[in-house]
Symmetry: C2
Subunit: 342 residues, 2 copies
């Protein structure tokens, strides 16, 4: 039942020829006669020979593995990115080794440590929340210094000099808020549970600029910087205190909370309040009403990151690039042009 794995050496002994002949035959070398090749390949099949990847890798100095470090696999955005990465990786015969930092600085350091021990040829990373808060990216720099190519996506930092794939969060948020303004919204709230992340800050800034551009003033009272546990309550409070006709929720939890809060207060979406949020399609399409969202194109981000990395693995190019992925607004039923009095 438990056939042991057979090695080239054993195969050679069985066939009464040398290891190198076996190796070359298996690799279809031009040096070997067709007859021998055939004999060897037949035997290999018979004994179910498979080259030991570890040995091949050690020899070649390559692993054909890509390390991916993701803050939270339960977040569908990241799973979509992962999906994209895998599509490209698989097509180029790379395996992916996935680690989850669970937003922890410690875990992230450990992950990097582990993967840079020669387990992978390169790294694709989104920075953990805690690392962003601590503003500590030394572990990434070390990995880079060790000569491990790295591409960062979504959660990136200027502190590390490497390829990056990002969304233009500032401008997207700017445009999204402008979209709401064009719908004739006058009092637009922003709801966030990710203000500790760079992307959260950027989106908030973009929103701010759009508001200032349009109305020449920016009311901090309409901006909720909260967390998963409190966001619903805080949004309800806002609705209690202020007249609102538009909400821009800049992450999934904020979006879900915003909808709930508006319903609880008995307002109509989109007749009283238009909402644009962030959420994956399956959720957005099954909410009532369906939610107009900013589509982040996670799969595209993943594919782009993987391409970038594999490209770098293949060619020794030097210029570092930052790719910006375009987003767009997926129009659904939570937004509507308000009648304006003129």
């Amino acid at each position: 039942m438990e056939k042991k794995k057979i090695t080239i050496k054993e195969l050679a002994k069985i066939l009464g020829i040398s290891v190198s002949t076996v190796s070359k035959s298996l690799n279809d070398s031009y040096e070997i006669s067709e007859k021998t090749k055939l004999k060897v390949q037949k035997a290999a099949k018979k004994y179910n020979y498979k080259p030991n990847r570890l040995a091949v890798n050690l020899k070649s100095g390559k692993t054909k593995n890509i390390g991916v470090i993701i803050p939270n696999i339960l977040n569908t955005f990241f799973t979509r990115v992962l999906y994209g990465i895998e599509r490209i990786a698989a097509s180029e015969d790379y395996n992916i080794i996935t680690c989850f930092s669970r937003e922890s600085y410690q875990k992230e350091v450990a992950n990097i440590e582990l993967l840079s021990n020669g387990s992978v040829d390169g790294l694709i990373v989104a920075i953990a929340e805690e690392s962003q808060i601590k503003d500590d990216f030394e572990h990434f720099k070390e990995a880079k210094a060790d000569g491990i190519p790295m591409v960062m996506f979504d959660r990136v930092t200027d502190a590390v000099h490497c390829d990056k794939v990002v969304v233009d969060d500032f401008n997207n948020a700017f445009n999204t808020t402008k979209h709401l303004i064009n719908l004739n919204c006058k009092r637009i709230a922003l709801v966030s549970t990710i203000d500790l992340l760079s992307v959260g800050k950027l989106r908030t800034e973009g929103h701010k600029k759009a508001i200032e551009n349009a109305f020449n003033k920016y009311d901090e009272k309409l901006v909720i910087k909260s967390n998963v546990d409190n966001v619903l309550q805080e949004t309800i409070s806002l609705l209690n205190n202020e007249k609102i006709d538009g909400i821009f929720a800049i992450d999934e939890d904020a979006s879900l909370a915003a909808i709930k809060a508006v319903k609880i207060k008995g307002y109509q979406i989109p007749n009283d309040i238009s909402i644009i949020g962030y959420a994956n399609e399956k959720i957005a399409e099954n909410l009532t009403p369906t939610l107009t969202t900013v589509n982040q194109h996670g799969i595209t981000i993943g594919k782009t990151a993987a391409k970038l990395l594999i490209d770098r693995l293949k060619n020794e190019k030097n210029e570092v690039v930052t790719k910006i992925i375009e987003t767009n607004i997926d129009q659904r039923s939570s937004t509507k042009k308000l009648k304006t009095l003129f």
Copy 2:
């Protein structure tokens, strides 16, 4: 900038001592004097030495990697399982190498092929839909024959003799339907988009038995075996033709379609029709009304599978086990006890 990775040999040369002394010092061997150890360890830190994992693995014959093959990472059930696996793996210092079969037989064979080349110490797998349809599991048997420990979860087969982690789909479905019956539902439909999967068949059978037990007859007309693209339309048709007061939707797509169909037909949930479905929490809680679901405990399944595998990796035990994970019904607003005329 690009420090090359330093090896034991180089370290030895720098220090003017032998490789073996360096190796032993690094591994804190009792054979080496404290003084030398200290010297070596200091130098190792200075030159940022890290053992080459490939070499260590080749030497030890272990990889400390667990291979995971998942049919579809975009399915939240599987991402939850993956999360559970990673939690345990990380705590035991195992890396996970994740492959996606994307429900394809071909891809699954390739994945197995790849991973059983010595990349991993063991495998955790859920079978691809296509393989289940083809009823072809030879690739798993080969991997087993190669001596690679394997645990299957959720999508399993009797054809392969290995550890398994499953949910008792038959009995759960039986109990779920009974739950609907206890709510006084008399005409209960079943909606499925996974009839090609073993789990789908089991759930359908469990449902059938519950219906037969209660009513002494089973109406095939109330059973929709469809696919993602057509399920909504077929459910609407059913609602057009039959009087229904309960729906058991045995997968996420079916659940979403069932709710939509009922709403489109203008029936009230749960007043006219009670629905129990399968969906992850985030979705279930944000539907209108919130959806009563069968909770599959994906994370627990993942954790259990990982524990089983690591256990087997550590101890050379022989008996194969099948762990059954208990499910439960998460009560939400899509079900309600109907008033009964008596």
